[in-house]
């Protein structure tokens, strides 16, 4: 899931300053789960905007705000309110903001900052385990990603910054990813994995912007 945080209200108000009539869009997927763009947050944001002198023309929570066709359909259903708006405040990740920007002629203004692809540890608690590098190494690292969970993305073991308790020098509250990898590989008899020199990563796999078209591919090839 894409983890988002709400921007500070003054920043949002500053972005909206050129406009008067605002439509608010939330997202029923990730932003709802992050409590940054669900029904409740959209409602609260509407109040804030009204308190600050804006006219809220309407609002919606799109099932999946990054889905261009769903987004288009949602705005069609709110055609009148959109017609009366100068801008849309989008309470979703950057992908959702851009879907709105793509389908509407009026400006799409972000209300959130997109942070990372997160695992949900429990409700409301997220951690970044995957950074979508396009070259998954988890088969050899005991199911713990060093690309993401080591701040330096080291591929051949820990740096000198791991302390005697196995904690990371960058964040002493966090266990060194490589200590975790070492322990897991040891437990499962796969310590051999650590003896091979892992060559430099192919960063061309994670270059931006990426695209993918699976319309002509089918299942497992």
């Amino acid at each position: 899931m894409i983890i988002t945080e709400q921007k500070d209200i003054p920043e949002i108000l500053e972005s909206l300053r050129p406009f008067t009539n605002i439509f608010i869009t939330g997202c029923g997927e990730c932003a709802a789960a992050c409590r940054t763009g669900g029904e409740e947050e959209v409602k609260q944001m509407a109040e804030v905007l009204r308190d600050n002198g804006f006219k809220v023309t309407g609002s919606t929570v799109i099932e999946e705000a990054c889905h261009v066709l769903l987004t288009k359909r949602a705005y069609r259903e709110h055609a009148k309110e959109i017609e009366a708006s100068d801008a849309v405040l989008v309470m979703s990740c950057g992908a959702g903001v851009q879907a709105t920007a793509l389908v509407l002629d009026i400006p799409a203004i972000p209300a959130l900052n997109s942070l990372f692809l997160g695992d949900t540890l429990r409700f409301g608690q997220f951690e970044e385990y995957c950074s979508m590098c396009g070259q998954c190494v988890l088969a050899t690292t005991g199911g713990v990603c060093p690309v993401t969970r080591c701040p330096k993305g080291l591929l051949n073991g820990p740096c000198g910054g791991v302390d005697n308790n196995g904690m990371c020098e960058v964040d002493r509250t966090r266990k060194c990813a490589w200590i975790e990898i070492y322990e897991r590989l040891k437990e499962t008899g796969r310590i051999e994995n650590l003896k091979k020199i892992v060559p430099p990563k192919d960063f061309s796999r994670s270059r931006h912007p990426s695209k993918r078209d699976i319309r002509k591919t089918r299942n497992v090839r």
């Binding site: 330096k152 073991g157 005697n164 020098e169 003896k195």
Partner: protein
């Protein structure tokens, strides 16, 4: 440098600005005292004059430089370009290190690179020595770098530490400069474990300037412990710096015959190094 009986190297930090007068003064002071001087590479992720330039200045002074190269600030293209340039300017010794995290320094908002890790960097230098770039393209000529790496003799888990140590050797490391050593017995055990690897190991000597610094190290530097009795000695001394120098000299004396040499880190007090070596 590696041919010496007991190799003595020291660390010299380039200035935090364009004024190189102090840097040259210190270098001249150390010229007759050490076999080579390491020039640090934006250490602690803090901006300083480039290590390549620092090494060239030492070369001009007739001192063998060890070029410290981290993976934090440059991608593989920039590192190779700098290494080829350094080689053309006469630099032969390189110390390959991962580098401190950008959050440790004075440019916390900068983008950190880590395109490579230290082991991949060592392999890449071995490639340059064969006339090959990291992407496998043929270079015009080949470098003659002697590659060094770092190791912390006290890092745990030991199995993982030794695995990485051996990977550095198989990648092409010929010498090691270690994290600070205060525990001689522990260091001897480490030396026994890594015997017969065909590499030179220079034990790190970190000059203690005050008891405060010792406490700071114990709290903040992973895998380095300044023993309580040494801290006490410094606390009870009228001249803590002099005491720190004595401690450093004692450690060096005890390491003769144990390690292949020492690497002295005086943390800005390089002018004290001749005094330390005098005591030895």
């Amino acid at each position: 440098m590696l041919g010496k009986n007991f190799i003595i190297t020291a660390e010299l930090q380039p200035p935090k600005g364009p004024d190189i007068s102090r840097f040259i003064e210190k270098a001249r002071l150390l010229k007759q005292e050490v076999h080579a001087l390491n020039v640090t590479d934006n250490q602690r992720a803090t901006l300083r004059l480039s290590s390549v330039a620092g090494c060239v200045i030492l070369e001009r002074e007739g001192i063998t430089p060890v070029l410290q190269m981290t993976c934090r600030d440059r991608n593989r293209l920039a590192i190779q370009a700098d290494l080829l340039g350094a080689h053309a300017l006469g630099i032969r010794h390189v110390l390959a290190i991962t580098g401190d995290d950008i959050s440790a320094g004075d440019h916390k908002e900068a983008k950190q690179v880590f395109d490579l890790d230290s082991i991949q960097l060592i392999s890449m230098i071995s490639g340059l020595n064969k006339g090959l770039s990291s992407s496998g393209t043929q270079l015009k000529g080949r470098t003659e770098f002697i590659t060094g790496a770092v190791v912390n003799p006290f890092s745990i888990p030991e199995e993982l530490n030794l695995l990485r140590f051996d990977k550095k050797i198989s990648a092409g490391a010929k010498f090691f400069q270690t994290q600070a050593v205060y525990d001689i017995e522990g260091f001897k055990k480490f030396m026994d474990k890594v015997a017969n690897r065909g590499v030179k190991i220079l034990a790190g000597i970190l000059l203690l300037k005050s008891s405060r610094m010792a406490h700071f190290i114990n709290k903040n530097v992973p895998g380095v412990t300044v023993p309580g009795n040494l801290i006490e000695e410094i606390e009870n001394s009228k001249d803590p710096l002099m005491k720190g120098m004595e401690i450093a000299a004692n450690i060096i004396r005890e390491l003769k015959g144990v390690s292949d040499g020492v690497h002295i880190m005086a943390m800005g007090m390089e002018e004290m190094i001749p005094g330390i070596l005098e005591m030895v």
